[in-house]
Every structure is written in C-alpha cells, then in structure tokens.
Amino acid sequence: MRNNLRLLKALTWVVGGGFLLILPFLIPTRMHVAIIALYYAILASSWALLAGYGGQFSFAHMAFAGLGAYTAGLVGKFFRLTTAPTHVCHEWSLGGWWLVVQDTGSPTCLETAKASMPAGTVIMQFPSWLDITLGILVGGLFGLLIGALVLRLRRTYLALFTIAFAEILRTAINAERDITGGPGGLKVAPLFPDGITLFGHHFSAADKWPPYLVMLILFLGIMALMYWLAGSRFGLFIRSIREDEEAAGSLGVHVVRYKILLFTVTAMFAAAAGGVYAHFVRVIAPNMMVIKEMSVVISMAVIGGMESLLGAAIGAILIEFALEQLRNDITIGSFTLHMTDWRLVVFGALLMITLRFWGNGLIYPIIQRITRRGVAEETVAKRLQAAAANPEEPST
C-alpha cells in the first residue's frame, strides 16, 4: 500500500513532467499561453503553501512576483558591467570588472564615457540568471520583513495588511516614472539576448522554446522543493501553526521562526516566477500586481485545492488555458456575447460556487481519493479486529 503510493508519486512526476515537456509540440501556436500557465502555476502553488498549508492569507503574493520582475528589469535598465572604468558614472571595481550605475541623475553617462574608454572595452548587461537571482533575494528580503511585521496579525488583519503593502508598492512603482517607467511599463531584455543553441538547434532571442524550458525547469524545481519542504518538519510545523498557533507553541514549535521562514520562501518562489516572467514578456507594468491578478491566482489555488500544491498547480494550468480558449465571442442571432469579459464572470461564479460547495477545491479531492485510498477501510478493519479480540469493549 505505502510502496504503491511511492510508485504513484514517482509516476506522477515522470508523467506530469513528460507531458509538460511535449506539450508545446501538441499546441505549437499556444506556447505563449503555456508559459503564462506555468507562471501562474508557480504562483498558485506557492500561495497554496503559504495559505493552504500555513494558513497565512496573504494578498501580497503578486507584489512579491512584481518585486522579482521589477528587480530584474531595473537591474537591466540601470546596471552595466564594463571591463574599464568610465570615470563619469557611479561605479565600483569588481576585480577586473566595473559595476556601472546609470542612475536617473546621469542617464547618459555611459554614452559620454564610451568615447574615452579604451578600444575593445566590453559593456554588457547583467546575465538574466543573475538579475533573476537578485530579484529572488529582494523578494526574500521583503518576505522576511513582511513576515516579521505580520506575526501578531491574524486572518482579516493579515489580509488587510498585505493588501496595503501590495497597494503601496504598486502605487510607488506607478508614481516613480523616472525610475520604473510608471504605468507605461519597463522594458526588459529577453532571457537570452543573443539567442541560445540547444541540442544543436539555434533559438533566436524571440523564440518561445527557451523561455518555456526555463519556466518549466523553474516550475518543476520549485514544485520539488515545495514537496520536500511540505513533507519535512517544516511542513508539519506550518500546518500545526495553521491549525492552532498557541497549541503548536506549547508543544515546542518555534512559531515565530517558521512563520517568517514560510513568508520568506514563498516570497522567493513568487519573485523567481516574476523574474522569469519579466524576461519573457519583455515589458512589465504595475498592472501585473493589481488586486485582480491576485484574485486570479487565489481563484486558481482555491479551485484546484488550496491544501494541495499539485492541485493548485493543475488548477492554474487548466484555468489559464480555459480562460484563453474562452476569449472567442459567442454570437446567437443578432446578439453577441463578448467573452473577453464574460469569461471572467464565469470564473468569479465558479470561484464562489467552489468555495461554497467544495471547500477543498475541485482537483484536490480527486488526488486525495487516490492517495488516501484505503485509509478508512484500514481504520474500520482494525476496529473490527480489536472488537473481535475484546468483545466487551464498548465502541468509543
């Protein structure tokens, strides 16, 4: 029984990963949707870890994704690496390389300096992996801060606090046009600016295969990491904190540490997704952090099943594809239904109905039916056995 389960888990990973790997071959025209679906899958499942496992109903998850995306974008906009000093920009020496900052006070300093720099000087942007990593660190730092600040706040108060944080961040990005580009958006370099050669095939910078593979690896990596976390003491502790903080504390669980840790890691996951997303869509705007986006992610997690990482991820992927499919208008006689708007109505209704009638989501119960198969029978069988061995014992 237990061994079967382990086999099942391995099988799920292989089949799921394999399916996602060949998915673009099945729908070559919809690779964009597939990448966005994986982006949402990372966000929904990491939110499920935060809210479903840890009971922390944060509405700041998109803000962390935004932090990741904007860190990557801003590093690309303002930071350069050169092999020679410019003497005009703000710059720091990094053993042979110079880190050059073209801040808003001197936006063209590098251009000015180019003339005086020795021939053959290399001027390059940060590689994508590095600015995404920086984004993850910034996301983690803010996750740590928010986690520490909200320790005393429960449920509604936590929700309100995180909404406020997300809104302040979004507003600031919107307002500081000189730095972030404001509502118009911030241009971000492609993931591989010069293209990349994989398996003997050269992919150009605009090709969708490389970002798909990067997002897929990120998704699988984060899922594996989250399943490891959820199965370890971390998972047990955050669930006990969700159930009853005081009781968990009285049993020796370091409530403060694990709550902060939970906020930090989930913020880092969101920031990682945001960073890759930024390099894929190439233009990011504060709109990626609006409450509507947060509602979408929450709905995906709820419909998939908040208490299941896999359920939330599957929910996200299915819903993203469904939403894209539903864009086509429906015409009945002279009456046209504009599905671009109506699909979200359907989505909202589905969210409410799911919450009302299937509190565990639509996908998680199916997963549970498989993984917890036999538990009830086992209990009953053991109870009968015990009763047979000791006939007078009253059933409790």
């Binding site: 159930e243 005081e246 009781a247 009285s250 049993l251 409530v255």
Partner: protein
C-alpha cells in the same frame, strides 16, 4: 528532579486581578490537584506557567531557569507541557502527524522516521492506534483528548499541566487517562491537574492547591485541605462548621 518555583505571580486584566500574588513550589514528581470555583483564576495560572500569558508581576523559575519571560516554545523545551481546557488537536492533520509535531520540535536534527515507532506505541497505549492515518477531526471528543495526551507523551516534559482532563469523557477513556497519569507520574514526572471532578482529584492527587478570587487559599494534602475553613467558605459561600465532603460515587480502577 523537577523544581518549579512560582514567586508572587499576579496577572492583571485591565483592572481585574485574575491571579493575585500566587506563590508555590514543586519539588520532585508530585501529583498536584488544582481546584477552585469558576473564575478563580485556575486557567489563567496555567496560561502564565506555560507562557501563553505573561505575568504582570512576579517570577516563575523552573529547574533554575526563569521561564516567565520565555516564549511558550522555549518553556516547552525547558520541560513544561500542557493540555487545554477545550481540546486543541490539529484537526486537519492525521493522528500520526499530530504526534510527530512535538517530537520533532524537541529534536531539531532528528528525522521523522525515527519517531514513527514511538508514535505507534503511544497511540497503542492510548487505544487510538487504529486511527493513526485518520484526520484528527474525524476523532470523537474523548479521542481528541487522548490525542492531546499522546502529544504530551511524545513531548515528554518533566512537568505536565492538565486542564480538565476528565470533563465530559466516557468512563472507559477516563480509565485510560487515569492510567496515563499514574504511570507517567511513576516515571518521575510531576503533574498539575485542574479538575471539577472532586472525587477523582481527591483520590488522585497527593497535594491540593485551592484558588478563589485569584488567590491561593490553601495548599496541602487533600485530607487537610478538605477541613480548611477558608476552602469551605470559598465553596459554600458562608461559614459552616461541617467539613465539606465530596460526593463519592465511583472510583476509577
């Protein structure tokens, strides 16, 4: 050997002195009952001991360490475990997971697998082993109470506070709880048991603390406490020359 020193502890809830300058000591594996009329401050006192509340004044030392300034999880690590008046099992976790939480919390570097066997034994002792993989919410009220005791067995503290362990419990389960207390006590653990079930507490405990209006009004062996005029007054509300007798119906085996 456990040493607990409660020195002049008070708790003020916005003007209401819920616990009023209480002092007592525990030396060694004593089995102490804590009784008192409703609102006497018993539960507040346990919350102060376990760190769920911080005293307004006074100090609490356990095994030489000052614990009233520590967060609850550290107090648990010093060796104080408790149950709650209303059962607080982790409802959406399985019985096994419930039992693993305290064991893992106490051993920062251990692996889960190391404790599964012990959890199974604990569950067997408490007769809930057939429910190991069930969610705690599927358990009956009494079974959830047993599960709380099971968590304490896994935590393995030196000083155990039980808040109303016998309230609303099936007689069969009561026997198990009774056995748990006496067995664990024999292993050198001290108990502080709050109960309204007078007959049980009088037979079970070696020492009785009586609280009324936040004050500790009596501390001594049950037979003496029973005759204490202050206790009689607290329970009956008036002076009475008749020593107060608890009703005796049944004594659990």
């Amino acid at each position: 050997m456990i040493e607990l020193d409660v020195k002049d502890v008070s708790k003020n809830f916005g003007g209401l002195l819920a616990v009023n300058h209480v002092s007592f000591q525990v030396r060694g594996p004593e089995l102490i009952g804590l009784i008192g009329p409703n609102g006497a401050g018993k539960t507040t006192l346990t919350n102060l001991l376990s760190g769920a509340l911080k005293p307004t004044s006074g100090t609490i030392y356990m095994n030489g360490q000052r614990i009233d300034v520590l967060p609850p999880y550290k107090i648990a690590k010093v060796g104080l475990g408790r149950t709650f008046q209303v059962t607080r099992a982790f409802r959406r976790m399985t019985v096994l997971e419930n039992l693993l939480v305290p064991a893992l919390a106490m051993h920062p570097t251990a692996r889960q697998a190391q404790f599964v066997k012990k959890a199974r034994e604990v569950a067997e002792f408490l007769t809930i082993d057939h429910l190991l993989n069930e969610y705690a919410r599927a358990l009956s009220g009494g079974q959830q109470k047993l599960l709380e005791l099971g968590r304490l067995l896994m935590l393995d503290p030196d000083f155990i506070i039980l808040d109303e362990p016998f309230a609303g419990v099936h007689p069969k389960l009561m026997e198990i709880i009774y056995e748990y207390i006496t067995e664990t006590n024999k292993k050198g653990k001290a108990f502080l048991i709050i109960s309204h079930d007078m007959e049980t507490i009088f037979t079970l405990s070696q020492r009785l603390l009586v609280m009324a209006f936040g004050k500790l009004i009596a501390d001594g062996p049950p037979q003496e406490v029973r005759k204490d005029p202050a206790v009689i007054k607290a329970y009956l509300g008036s002076d009475s020359d008749k020593p107060w007798q608890p009703e005796r119906k049944r004594v659990p085996a």
